[in-house]
Amino acid sequence: MTEITTEKYREEAAKGIKNTVLQEALANLQERFGTGTAEGYKNLPEGPALRHLAHDIRINTINNLDIVLKKLAENVRKNGGHVFFAKDGEAAVDYCLQIARRHNVKLAVKGKSMVTEEIGLNSSLAAAGIEVAETDLGEYIIQLFGEHPSHIIAPAIHKTRKEIGRIFAEKLNIPFTDDPPALTQAARKALRKKFLTADMGISGCNLACAETGHITVVSNEGNIRMSSTLPKVHVSFMGMERVTARLEDHNPLLRLLCIGAAAMHMATYVSYIGGPTFPGYGDGPEEFHLVILDNGRTRILADTAFREMLCCIRCAACLNVCPVYGKIGGHAYGYPYSGPVGAVVTPLLVGINRAEHLCQGETLCGACKDACPVNIDIPRMLLELRNKLAEGDSKWQVTPSNLKEKFLYTLWSWLVRDRRVYDLFLRLSLVGQKLFPKKEGMIHRLPFSLKGWTSGRDLKPIADESFTRHWKRAKKI
């Protein structure tokens, strides 16, 4: 299983903010991709209507997911592929291990896949004595460092060329260089050997098509084509929501995915894979397996407040505009899914209480909603999560996260309900506030549970005379 460190959000976020290298990299990333994506949407011949259409297609598919997945499995099997429905990560990993054992797999080459990060596939395969080579350049770098990705599509964004140069020199036994083309060439050479000798290829799935029985894999480097073409077995993992009913749905969705992910018209490589190769075809895997993963998604599906989140196609456009992600970086989110998408998906998958800081850390500014290629209302769901944390929720096993806060707000609601009580409170506060330390006429520090209010700013003191009183007095004159 993959490690969950959502509890450390505050410390990790603070670390991220202090990391000057990360700050520069994130600013650069958001500047380029954030604005590029917005520009891409502007240039769509269909205009904003395309994103509305995409949203409709997605939600309509999710609303019929049982029918659509049944059809997908039926058609993949018709094409000669195997389909396995995994209720959780363990079942998915076990299935992959079984295939690996049956084929005596020593080396697996792997294309970038968030869902395999979610189920911790790499460590399980390694434990079984199978070498797993990440082949996306960013993922490969991260694997050499023994770390986890910090961005959905730019996993090594937090590493400098110098750091990468040093790890390449050490692990690949090459002279040190920090020249990106030379480093890329070194990885190209090292991984080419692996592609040509691997016994298993592992990939994710961007969007399957139920009608034809195909999965799609999208990449710019060509590593996923390699992983799905050269080894004799190809295993693809998909979160159960990553499917469309009809082929024509891919016209808006694929294009929007590419704009959202990298401000591109179309990614360099898109492959529709529908089963193993046939005799006489020259190349391609002899066996194709599709693993369809639930791992807590049915619970999201069952709650109409959160079902919309299953429309997500994991393009990371929301990361590239989020002011919070742009400061704290991906590792603070403590799970493979970071940024606004992570702030909603992670609590729903690992437990709302366990990941409470994620939704509380976001600002609700709405930039993610504007950037989402399929118009998902992320801020609405962040609020839903906060509501559950404030009030508790039995269906999601949420206990109110902050009893002190709940108590204070209950008190506040009593205070403001009665004019006389409120006036009394104001008068008392007027006296009380004299006790707080001041700076240039502003309250500089509040005590106890209230100290958060003044940790980053000073507060204006309560005026000697309330507006209502002033109004009454002024009218008399």
């Binding site: 209720k87 990106p180 710019n220 480097e221 060509g222 073409t229 082929l247 006489g280 369809i292 639930d294």
Partner: protein
């Protein structure tokens, strides 16, 4: 008490989904109809579009070539429009002579067993220069497959055709068939694509309409691997610096034959 229904896990999985979806709105929304689509189901819009593609004038086709060249520029994809196969063959031979192999000493090309590529007659043209030309003829047993794989891996140029080319994004679309090995467009350092002008379509809407509704396409299906290729392989994973040739071909040349061939 838990009831052991002894159901198979797959049915259980789907059943759980149906249960999760059982909200009051579901029936009013109506369920998706996923039955096979037949000839009568073709929407008028799709028919109109198909007709427009079929009857596209050569002037409009020329405009698409221009658009393709324009769109290819930012991708570092070289699009070269030439009159006939002769001129294309000459250019490919010049490239083969000029470029140096990335992984070995011997210069060799791997080409699809495809009528348009065979017309180029590359093997005969390049023999005097001591440049080998292998074709990816259908491989039937595992021995032949291994031999083919090695030849593709050794070759520094791979020559293929394609099914379509989408002008709007400069994307070539290729299905998989016997003799059209997938790795020819993947393992060599340079990928050369040769197509006829009529194979260029305007956008993805046209592409998906053809794939879905054209009778020949429909009968063949997407095959076990349909690939879209848009320019050379690239990465921006080191400090967001764009570099060509991550794993796939570093250079891609697209030759469009505009005249008779």
């Amino acid at each position: 008490m838990a009831v052991n229904r002894n159901e198979n896990p797959e049915d259980q999985f789907i059943e759980n989904l149906s249960k999760a979806l059982r909200d009051p709105l579901r029936e009013s929304r109506g369920r998706m109809d996923l039955s096979e689509v037949s000839e009568e189901d073709i929407p008028d819009e799709a028919n109109d579009l198909r007709r427009r593609i079929e009857t596209r004038s050569s002037k409009d086709q020329k405009a698409l070539v221009k658009r393709l060249i324009e769109k290819a520029k930012i991708l570092n994809l070289k699009v070269i429009a030439l009159k006939d196969t002769q001129s294309v063959a000459r250019e490919i031979c010049a490239l083969a002579q000029e470029k140096t192999p990335e992984w070995g000493e011997q210069k060799s090309l791997i080409v699809w067993a495809h009528p348009l590529i065979e017309k180029l007659n590359l093997a005969k043209r390049l023999a005097p220069q001591d440049i080998l030309v292998y074709d990816s003829a259908p491989a039937t047993d595992s021995g032949e497959k291994i031999k083919l794989r090695n030849r593709i891996a050794e070759s520094f140029i791979g020559v293929t055709s394609a099914d379509y080319c989408v002008a709007d994004s400069a994307t070539v679309v290729m299905k998989t068939r016997p003799g059209h090995a997938r790795a020819v467009s993947l393992l060599p350092t340079i990928h050369i694509v040769v197509i006829k002008q009529e194979q260029i379509i305007e956008n993805f809407k046209e592409l998906y309409t053809l794939l879905k509704w054209d009778p020949i396409e429909k009968q063949e299906g997407l095959t076990n691997c349909m690939t879209f290729i848009t320019g050379p392989s690239k990465t921006a994973d080191i400090e967001a610096t764009l570099i060509h040739g991550a794993h796939g071909p570093r250079e891609v040349y697209l030759y469009v034959i505009t005249g008779l061939f």
